[in-house]
């Protein structure tokens, strides 16, 4: 019988993670990965997410999946030698447009301006419509409770754990609210609430769009000019040869940029993240 304490998984939207800019050293274990502090004050080391696979890339040693939850993307990566957890081969069994539930550990990397996140999966399973709705509904409920606590705490500079608990919030929600106000005092919480209020649901990609995205990503990867990035003119010319419309190429580049798949390394030069 399991009796040891385990770390809770955070059911959070991709948007909450994408907007996170702060990490905290893990005091419990010197070699542990840093803890991510999100704009809603959530301390994240493990997540439980649900969404649709929108990108897949399999290389020699690793597999990567991009999962969209309707508010943004999560990035999964697994290696050949991942012990006792889903590895490259297991990830490779899933296909684009599969709906999946994933529990995993969060890795963060980057600099002061931008942090990137990837998830090392501990559990990945295909999910059905009920699970997708249940996850989305719970994640929204948990986020909204935190938003209400943040608003309540923001009304009074003297707000404390105790005053928030007295108003009906849990200790966890009170801590999140105070952490949010301390670390993200100017965060646009109204926009976050607007995005999640519409019960976001991930959309399946049509085949043509998927084909274009995959082709453009592969082209950028293979034509990265010594780390300076792939030129826009080259991408455009290659796309024409593949029969893609020019205005559609611009649209796909923009989408890949906002999905966090590529970035503009310098003017009109693109690299894969």
């Amino acid at each position: 019988m399991i009796s040891q304490k385990r770390e809770i998984s955070n059911w959070i939207f991709a948007l909450e993670l994408r907007d996170s800019k702060i990490t905290e050293k893990n005091e419990e274990w010197a070699n542990a990965k840093p803890i991510v502090i999100t704009p809603l004050g959530t301390r994240v080391r493990r997540v439980l997410i649900n969404g649709i696979i929108s990108q897949k890339s399999v290389q020699d040693e690793m597999a990567k999946l991009t999962i969209s939850d309707g508010t943004g993307n999560f990035y999964l990566s697994a290696f050949n030698n991942d012990f006792n957890r889903p590895g490259k081969d297991e990830l490779n069994e899933f296909q684009i447009n599969d709906s999946v539930l994933v529990m995993g550990r969060l890795n963060s990397f980057g600099n002061e301006d931008k942090i990137y996140f990837s998830i090392s999966p501990e559990l990945i399973q295909k999910s059905d419509d009920i699970l997708q709705k249940f996850w989305s509904s719970r994640a929204r409920y948990i986020a909204i409770r935190k938003i209400y606590a943040i608003r309540e705490a923001g009304k009074d500079p003297e707000s404390s754990r105790e005053s928030l608990v007295n108003k009906g919030y849990s200790l966890y929600e009170a801590d999140c609210a105070l952490r949010s106000l301390k670390n993200y005092p100017d965060y646009d919480i109204q926009n976050f609430e607007r995005v999640i209020a519409s019960s976001p649901a991930p959309e399946k990609k049509d085949d043509e769009e998927l084909r274009m995205k995959e082709a453009i990503i592969n082209y950028i990867k293979q034509n990265d000019d010594n780390g300076k990035g792939c030129r826009y003119e080259d991408i455009s010319a290659a796309s024409k040869l593949l029969g893609f419309e020019e205005n559609k190429v611009d649209e796909i580049l923009n989408q890949l940029g906002s999905d966090g798949e590529i970035y503009e390394a310098s003017l009109k030069r693109y690299r894969v993240i």
Binding site: M1, I2, S3, W11, L123, Q125, R138, Y141, I144
Partner: protein
């Protein structure tokens, strides 16, 4: 301690104040270890009472020789509001002296609680609910035969076992119990009705239905709760187990150490972890709760030809990473709560609607 001190009565402590002195009786006392950056420390909490009322307290310094029933004199205490209740705070500045040989009449006051919110921190409470599962038992006490009544009390949040020493419990009766004692037995909370407890008929201002709860909202070992969750882990030793035919204990070999000649029977057992986004709980389940989900019948396992590996495979296929509604009882186990699942079912569209209604009510 000063004898000229102006001692406050508990009923007059109604706001946040400091430097108070009072004489009170310890009505309940518990201690808890606290770990922080500075190391491990111990604090005490419980209920104090005097002839005007009762008040919960937290003591950061407290003599370990003090016991429930002792009357104490306290100086330099403060009070603060926590969770909507005024608490007395006894810290390093406070002085606490026992007054041996002194007794004190205490006027009890009981706050009305939902069953899910009951805990040993508040040992006397008022609760409302419906009585069910009543059984009577005769017992000898001080040379006399008395009748004890055992049953369950349920409200819209949970179920709790009730023992009544004084009043007959009627099946299906809806009651308000004033001054019931909360205690813990075999890892579960129970209520005791004594001759000091008032039990009166009451109309319930709530409906009893599915008692859905967030995992993080349950702090005590209460029963009759449903959780909507995802199963994120299934214990590797789940499957077919053997039990002694006489004592029902799980046995590792083909015989029980205490009843080696009595034989064994096969049973199902699974343990798993459920998460609902607010928390997690380790769950256990037996044959009756697993049969339906595994496609088995209530017949003995010996006749159903199923192996541990087959059970494990089916559990992984039907439960792992799946949304479920599990109903059962929280049990205290080595200071943490585990969940004994009585029923497990895969979440349906109807269940999802109930979950979403529950969330909407909580947000409002």
């Amino acid at each position: 301690m000063s004898t000229k001190q102006n001692f406050l009565k508990i009923s007059s402590i109604d706001s946040v104040s400091s430097d108070m002195a009072l004489i009170a009786k310890i009505l309940s006392l518990q201690k808890k270890a606290l770990k922080n950056d500075k190391g491990e420390s111990m604090y005490y909490y419980g209920i104090l009472g005097d002839e005007t009322g009762t008040i919960p307290f937290t003591a950061w310094t407290f003599s370990s020789s003090l016991r429930v029933g002792d009357v104490i004199e306290i100086e330099h205490a403060s009070s603060r509001e926590y969770n909507g209740t005024i608490r007395l705070n006894i810290d390093a500045r406070s002085q606490v002296v026992m007054k041996p040989g002194t007794d004190m009449e205490v006027k009890r006051s009981y706050s009305e609680k939902k069953i899910r919110d009951l805990s040993l921190k508040e040992p006397f409470v008022t609760v409302k609910g419906k009585i069910s599962g009543v059984i009577e038992k005769e017992k000898e006490k001080n040379g006399e035969m008395i009748t004890l009544y055992y049953g369950n009390l349920e409200d819209d949040t949970a179920v709790i076992r009730v023992t009544s020493f004084s009043r007959k419990l009627e099946e299906g009766e809806t009651v308000k119990i004033v001054g019931a004692k909360v205690s813990e037995y075999n890892g579960r909370l129970r209520l005791t009705i004594s001759d000091k407890t008032q039990v009166e008929h009451a109309d319930l201002d709530f409906k009893i239905g599915i008692r859905l709860s967030n995992i993080s909202d349950v702090k005590s070992p209460i029963s009759g709760v449903s959780l909507a969750a995802v199963i994120v882990n299934i214990g590797a030793k789940s499957g077919v187990i053997k039990r002694c035919k006489t004592c029902n204990r799980k046995i590792d070999d083909d015989f029980c150490e205490e009843h080696p000649d009595d034989g064994f029977y096969k049973d199902l057992f699974a343990y798993f972890t459920a998460e609902d986004g607010t928390g997690y709980v380790h769950c256990t389940s037996g044959k009756s709760s697993l049969e339906e989900i595994l496609g088995l019948t209530p017949d003995p396992l010996e006749t159903q030809n199923i192996t541990s590996n087959q059970v494990m495979k089916k559990l992984n296929e039907t439960l792992l990473g799946k949304p479920v509604v599990i109903s059962g009882d929280f049990v205290k186990n080595n200071d943490s709560l585990t969940f004994r699942a009585r029923t497990i079912k895969q979440m349906s569209e109807d269940d999802l609607r109930i979950v979403q209604m529950f969330e909407a009510e909580e947000i409002i």
